[in-house]
């Protein structure tokens, strides 16, 4: 069933998010260079995860809403 699949995916993505922004993984992205869209890598990395989280929530909500039949 697609809804439970999406739910598991969401949990996975947010767990990955926790790992990505904390030590030790974040230390791979500690450097200020290169600049990504004009921003230091160390700043672009957490911003990227805000965007990933946003997309994940949109997808999750789409399927939750559809199955609720509203």
């Amino acid at each position: 069933m697609i809804r439970s699949l999406i739910r598991r995916l969401a949990i996975g993505v947010f767990l990955l998010n926790v790992l990505a922004v904390t030590w030790p993984v974040v230390s791979l992205f500690r450097s200020s260079e290169p600049l990504v869209f004009g921003l230091p890598l160390s700043m672009a990395w957490p911003i990227a995860w805000i965007l990933i989280g946003f997309v994940m929530l949109l997808v999750l909500d789409h399927f939750e809403d559809r199955d609720r039949g509203e």
Partner: protein, 497 residues
Amino acid sequence: MDRWVAISSMIVAYLGLTLWVGLRAGRGTSATVDGFVAGDRNFGFLIMYFVTGATVFSAFAFLGGPGWAYSRGAAAFYILSYGVLGMAPWYVIGPKVARIGRRLGQVTQAQFLTGRFRSRGLSLVIALISIAALIPYITLQMRGAGIVIEAVTDGRVPLWMGAAAAYGIVLVYVLVSGVSAVGWTNTLQGVFMIAIAWSLGIYLPNALYGGIGPMFDAIISQRPELLELPGLNASGEPWNWAGYSSAILISAVGLTMWPHLFMKAFTARDERIIRRTVVWFPTFQLFLVPVFLIGFAGVLFVDSLSQPDFILPHLILRLDLPVVVVGLFCAGALSASMSTGDALMHAAASVAVEDGVRPFVELDEVQQRLLIRILIVVAGAAAYYFAVSEGISLVVLLLTSYGIIAQLAPPVVAALFWRRATTPGIIVGLLAGGFTTLLFFFWPALKPIALHEGLFGLIVHVPVLILVSLLTPVQDRTLVESYVNPPAAGRSVLPGR
């Protein structure tokens, strides 16, 4: 006309507009506790979006954010990292809390918890924790408002007067309209602070360095250490990974446990609105990007400030900007301060009455609302007293209260998801977690590693909660099911308006 007169008039106009919106908001809300504290559970999506966003991002974000970026560099990125993580679980928890609250007539966090874990002592403990955490938070917002007004009027309007003026207005609209005022003014203030942060965040790097990329190139060539994670600590030394990572974790856990945010679950018209608010919250979180850009813009232009929180007003004044820009900046900063401050004052008083007084003393509806209003004034006065008296490190207090507030997370999760949790388990767990947090706060030398003290609190809290629960008798089944599996409330059941 003098510059400061023009700026002051803009501030007055802005405050007037806020007051007007706040007073109008109360019309159409019922004169009940449900109406005053939970807005008759009738907030729509747009209001919930701005209430959530504007409440999370306070004067601390608008003034403290640039201050952190300026003085501690990459350390500030922890604030970017925890918001969405903290909000995402609310997608599941928020609607469930709302559903239970609607059915059982709850308007506060303690009512929600004691609905399953019946104990007046627990209610009192939660009330005390909430108020102890909320007061320094209110104080910080007031100081923020006062600092901004003092700075842009060249000290002609001192901190005490600016804070009194801004919060006098907050007091009036919160007293008259209750949480509906918080909702509508936050919508206005949220729009203001986002628009102003983005305009300044793009304008300043361009005006000073010729662009955002060139700004960071310049900073990297002169202060290469500043932009490397985990940034610097308060005394300018490199920060450590344990501190950086645990700040993210504890803030994420604590975020939605703050009473003024948690209680907003009871204001939503339906569960769908809470879910959509969570989904769109990341767009509000991006507001921090221009806020940090403003702070970084100051790095090579302003020599070390003794109080980095002043970076924003300082920069604004140094640059000889058009009066309109300065005025708008003030409006933005005041928005950030007041939109959090009003929710905090309202929550502190509601919690004190609903959870601290009512379980012990019989009150009718009229008395309750009167007492909440009186306590809003008292909370405001207490916070104002701290705001104008120097020498108390509020930021330290606030960061510590995050550790304490995070201790409310295990009980909330247990109430909703763990059938075997019991009242003694919850109480002993909460006390153990709170005690551990305070212990490591007062004696940081005892810490085995440099983690946030609230995290140690949770490490002790959760096993104690589980162990004591398992050792005590199982709870009544109907009670447990009404929390773990609350019957779905269709829209047809909602009170029609």
